[in-house]
């Protein structure tokens, strides 16, 4: 590597980092505006044209706010928890291909920071590390609400992580590679969302829960837990949690786009060949995030027991069945030919319908009915 390579590499890293910050800034503004619109309000209007700089203003305000360290807090852990919460969100984005490549000074600069051969596993690993920021913040605050919020929140996140992994496995079986660039490559003809629609739905739901977004924002259920794990955080430390949460939202949406919606693929004219994939990628991410905002405006917060029940009793069995089904769909036609497989699939489908009808009948009756 010579000096130019290093400069281009550093430039790439800096652009991605700054790009994420700007995206988050605009995303928070967009969310507030869209929700305001859905509630026939104006939303932020003061800072900048139509309030577009509101996030910046909020950030500056938080920057100058006093930072409180509670008397009971475990100081070192309390101070590093916001950083730990923020880092994995940024790092997970490093493997996302957000465009093709551009030639600068005679060198090819790919629009993807890193493309390790275990791409999807990297995303999952970062998601699992994200729990630490929450657990440590909640524990180190030395206060009851953060502790309760942290335990609840991490239970939610780890429960939905399994559903998410299962959705990812189903995609892998189609692409045969963990490398994200190859997964985009495999979607040249058909986007994965068509053959893998159930996995897409599972992923989107699990993604909502992973990012603590409504209707799964129980960790911050203000009516019960004040502000959950970050109750005791103020000023810039709170801002870092907030930043991490929104970067996470961008990352989850980007992964959804990369795995299911064809990544940066889309029809493009022949001028400036590197711009269009980038625009396609951004447009798709925006669409997914808009969906998330819409969900927030529409659905009330779900109750904790139902949240856990949904994760464990619906999402996980559904994901497991879908993985096996995908396997059968891919492998069986090669072995037996198409006809018998279709017939077999019909039988299995019928059995599933029957089972879903029979399941409520087999359930033990509630205790109240026993005496009758």
């Amino acid at each position: 590597m010579d000096l130019l390579d290093w400069a281009l590499l550093l430039g790439r890293v800096a652009v991605v980092f700054a790009g994420l910050l700007v995206t988050v800034m605009l995303l928070i503004w967009m969310e507030r505006k869209v929700i305001a619109d859905m509630q026939t309000r104006m939303g932020p209007m003061r800072a900048g044209p139509r309030g577009v700089l509101i996030t910046l203003a909020d950030g500056i305000k938080l920057f100058f706010k006093e930072g409180i360290v509670p008397a009971e807090a475990d100081r070192p852990v309390y101070l590093i928890a916001p950083v730990i919460a923020m880092l994995p969100a940024f790092l997970a984005f490093a493997v996302i291909p957000f465009g093709t490549s551009v030639t600068l000074f005679g060198r090819e600069v790919p629009f993807q920071l890193a493309d390790p051969s275990i791409g999807i596993l990297w995303v999952l690993a970062m998601a699992s590390l994200g729990v630490y920021g929450i657990v440590l913040a909640g524990w180190s605050s030395g206060s009851n609400y953060p502790l309760l919020g942290a335990v609840r929140s991490s239970a939610q996140i780890i429960s939905y992580e399994i559903g998410m992994s299962l959705a990812l496995v189903a995609v892998l079986m189609y692409s045969g590679s963990l490398r994200l660039s190859e997964i985009v490559e495999a979607q040249a003809r058909v986007w994965n969302v068509i053959p893998q629609f159930p996995a897409f739905v599972v992923y989107l739901i699990a993604g909502l829960a992973e990012t603590n977004r409504p209707p799964f924002d129980l960790p911050e259920a203000e009516s019960e837990l004040v502000a959950g794990f970050h109750t005791e955080y103020s000023g810039i430390r709170f801002a870092l949690f907030y930043l991490g949460e929104y970067v996470n939202t961008v990352t989850v949406a980007s992964v959804a786009v990369t795995l299911f919606l064809g990544g940066w693929r889309g029809p493009a004219p022949d001028v400036l060949p590197w711009v269009w994939p980038l625009l396609w990628f951004l447009a798709k991410v925006l669409a997914v995030v808009y969906g998330y905002v819409w969900v927030r405006a529409t659905l009330p917060r779900i109750r904790f027991d139902r949240l856990m029940a949904f994760g464990w009793k619906v999402l996980i069995p559904f994901g497991l069945v879908w993985v096996l089904l995908t396997g059968a769909i891919v492998v069986l036609p090669d072995v037996y030919g198409r006809g018998p497989v279709v017939a077999g699939a019909a039988v299995v489908f019928g059995a599933l319908v029957l089972a879903s009808v029979a399941a409520p009948l087999l359930r033990p009756r509630p205790a109240a009915e026993v005496g009758r």
Binding site: E72, S117, S128, L129, W139
Partner: protein
């Protein structure tokens, strides 16, 4: 030494220091965090050896799941909130056991490689190759794992059930 060996030395040192801090830390949650550092250094060592998949699985399972379980367990029971320390006065017996285990392991490694230079051929093993060998050559152990998981699951249920009169 090659760059890789330098990297390994640094990692190994970090891992050992963190491991020592696990047992000497006076606060259980701090001990769990040092454990994270130790486990992560093991994951990084796998990575240096070219076992990319195993390395990240190590992070995903040990750091992302098992230590989280530890933290849950600490919070569930008597985790000191904030600055209170919770220390175990019994040090001698565990220290002796740990030393014995260490001696055993070192002996085992010396028996296998001797004092010479245990240079192994490093090769990047892609996930597909791991899968092929796991599901072709090690079918029986793989299926046995599901029994282990079954037993673990049943154990988890039994443990979490409270026997009330």
């Amino acid at each position: 030494m090659t760059a890789q060996e330098y990297a390994f030395s640094v990692l190994a040192l970090l891992g050992v220091v963190a491991a020592v801090r696990v047992v000497t830390a006076r606060n259980v949650v701090h001990a769990a965090l040092y454990l994270v550092a130790t486990l992560a250094s093991v994951g990084a060592a796998y990575l240096l050896l070219g076992a990319e998949f195993v390395g990240w699985v190590q992070i995903l399972i040990y750091v992302g799941a098992i230590v989280i379980l530890f933290l849950f367990g600490l919070m569930l029971t008597r985790a000191p909130i904030g600055r209170e320390a919770l220390d175990n006065p019994g040090r001698l017996v565990p220290a002796l056991i740990a030393l014995a285990v260490l001696a055993g392991l070192v002996g085992l490694l010396l028996g296998a490689f001797g004092w010479g230079d245990p240079r192994v051929e490093l090769a990047h093993a892609p996930t597909g190759v791991v899968g092929e060998s796991l599901f072709r050559r090690y079918v029986l152990p793989f299926e046995a794992v599901s029994f282990v998981l079954l037993a673990a699951l049943i154990g988890a249920i039994v443990l979490s059930r409270k026997d009330e009169p």
